[in-house]
């Protein structure tokens, strides 16, 4: 079996449990993002895959080989660091060439001046330089190879770091928030470049980020982590439309999902603020209704709320309202032309689309729900 497989990884630093049993498999050539708030353990998990951190228990497999006990140097993975971690005293060419030097040349052959005199070293050095030149061309930094990192911009340094990762064709790529030090405009263009690079190189990639929009736009699959656990793994669409945990629903999406206190009555109908919203569920008792801002809209039979504030975004309009009965905050995304129809201080009736509404129990676990026919809803 190829790709990266993690079996029940646990990691503690002293008494602090950072990872509490993480299992995950990344298939060959897949781009998987680990996303979660800071401190959720995603960087620790990546360092464990890289071999920079030892597991407390569990196993790591890369390309079908158990590498749990292997050191980083022997795992055949490449990593791009948040601060790039370029060697400041080496030129771009030397920086990209380091992984090849360390692998293709013996310790004696690496000695400055003297090493170059040994038989065969000149030939090896030539192939290294050719590979480095290829990688640099691929990333569009061919003209910068004689500069030192201090003479490069943030974006260029980032490319050098990528070059150092791709130059030796590793089994897996690990990227630790590689875009967080770039300015906003560059971040968006670099996103698509990294995705394109991943397609060309074709190695399994694990990408750590706290930015859910990066995770959603770049990945084949997204793993949402919180408190040392993976809550859900799925395609970006799956994670967005079908979250299995309230924390996933709340973390993914901007502005974040609306949450309203709800009640399942003995007939299995879901009501919020005494308004039946046409949603049925099994069981009864208190629940939480989560609804994306684009799935709630003004309607005659909706929940009464007062408009507090609106944001015009060009392609849409965000209306911030407060539910009259409960005081809960609701954000609703409307087409921009509705701007003339809503005013601050007005009362509107907002109705969640029952087909898109998500129901969670008090512990944040997803509950099954179904759209009720009109008779069921009011009968």
């Amino acid at each position: 079996m190829s790709g990266i497989v993690l079996h029940d990884i646990q990691k503690s630093f002293g008494a602090t449990k950072v990872l509490r049993g993480v299992s995950l498999s990344v298939t060959q050539g897949e781009f998987l993002s680990l996303v979660g708030p800071s401190g959720c353990g995603k960087t620790t998990l990546m360092r464990i895959i890289a071999g920079l951190e030892a597991v407390s228990s569990g196993a790591v497999q890369i390309a079908g080989r158990d590498v749990t006990a292997l050191r980083a140097a022997d795992r055949d993975v490449a990593m791009v660091f948040q601060n790039y971690a370029l060697y400041p005293h080496l030129t771009v060419r030397q920086n990209i060439g380091v992984p090849l030097m360390m692998r293709r040349l013996s310790a004696a052959e690496r000695i400055p001046f003297f090493g170059g005199l040994l038989p065969g070293v000149a030939e090896k050095q030539r192939t290294i330089n050719a590979d480095v030149a290829n990688a640099a061309e691929m990333l569009g930094i061919g003209k910068l190879v004689d500069r030192k990192p201090a003479q490069l911009s943030g974006g260029q340094r980032q490319r050098v770091a990528l070059g150092r990762a791709i130059v030796r064709h590793p089994m897996a790529f690990l990227m630790d928030e590689p875009l967080s030090n770039l300015d906003a405009a560059l971040r968006v263009t670099t996103r698509s470049e990294i995705v394109a690079l991943h397609r060309r190189v074709g190695a399994s990639t694990v990408y750590v980020t706290h930015d859910q929009s990066e995770a959603m736009t770049m990945s084949d699959r997204v793993a949402v982590m919180m408190d040392g656990l993976i809550l859900q793994v799925g395609t970006p669409e799956d994670i967005y439309t079908n979250p299995q945990d309230l924390r996933v629903a709340a973390f993914i999406g901007s502005p974040s999902i609306n949450m309203l206190a709800a009640e399942i009555d003995p007939h299995g109908r879901v009501t919020t603020g005494s308004v039946s919203i046409g949603l049925g569920a099994s069981g009864h008792g208190p629940a939480i209704l989560a609804i994306r801002p684009e799935d709630i809209a003004p309607h005659a039979t909706g929940i009464a709320a007062r408009i507090e504030h609106q944001e015009y975004l060009g392609e849409s309009l965000l209306v911030h309202a407060r539910v009259l009965d409960s005081g809960e905050q609701v954000i609703c995304r409307l087409p921009p032309e509705k701007r003339r129809h809503v005013a601050r201080g007005e009362t509107v009736h907002l109705r969640p689309d029952p087909a898109k509404a998500l129901l969670f129990d008090g512990d944040g676990r997803r509950l099954g729900s179904r759209v009720l026919s009109l008779e069921d809803a009011h009968g």
Partner: protein, 327 residues
Amino acid sequence: MATVAGWGPAFCRWKTPMADVAMQSPAVKAPTVHARTLRGDAGIAWLLTLPAILAYCAMILLPLLAVLALAFTDYEFGARSFHWIGFGNFADMLGDRTFSASIRNTVVYCLFVAPLSIGIALCLAVLIEAGARGRAFWRAVFFLPVVSLTVAMATAWQYLLHPSIGPVNALLRMVGAGTPNWLGSSDWVIVSLGFIGVWENVGFNLVLFLAGLTAIPRELYAASEIDGARSGWSKFWLVTWPMLGPTMLFVIIITMTRSIRVFDTVQTLTQGGPNNASEVLLRTIHQEGFHYFRFGYSAAITLVFLVIVLGLMLIQTRLIDRRVHYG
């Protein structure tokens, strides 16, 4: 700070910005105000620097100039007059056996102490940094010689190195090795003083290296590990050594100047003997000046000493500085 046109800067510089704003007339043109403000600020800057300038002149520049002048005279302490003798003192040095011995010994001492104390300190620093526990303990242990009084410690060394009752020779006798007279033989004395010098300097250099090591980003070690640096040795050459460059330059300069200035161990343990075998530059200056009261000659040697120190610093900063700072 804005000032009003027409008021002298000498007056204005004492006013608060609040007062300025209140008194500013609407007719004042911005460029004028700006020019005057700059002049006023510069005046204050000079005024505030004045105490430091005076102190520098009185304590460093004037004595230096006095030494410079004295070096070309035959002035002796207490003499009623002196004569300008041009380069006479320097010509005397060429034929002075004590002076040439002190130059030779100082060079040997430096070449012994600097590489050894830097090398040992670097090894210890890397070991202590890599160790999981007891960093503060080891740092304190090796730093102890730096904070202890050399003159007091010299007594301990005198005992340790004593030819007949000293523990060092007792140990050597046990293993059947020769028992040199460490401080009394002209073959060994500079080596013995050198060892004491290394012992004194290692702790100081160690602390500097430890500071340099903690400044190296951890990510670089992680990157080198991923890049295939398996051994500590290859990580040292790929990351530690180049990243310690600026620290290394500083340590080399400091150690060289510290060892050129060796005086207290020589004065307390050997008084330059036997037969000038441990005569060093600073002690010669001291002897000529305060023993024989030949201030002119002493000043001339001081000048030579200064030129050597400045020359070393210039070579080191010019040659090495460019290669250890990576922007």
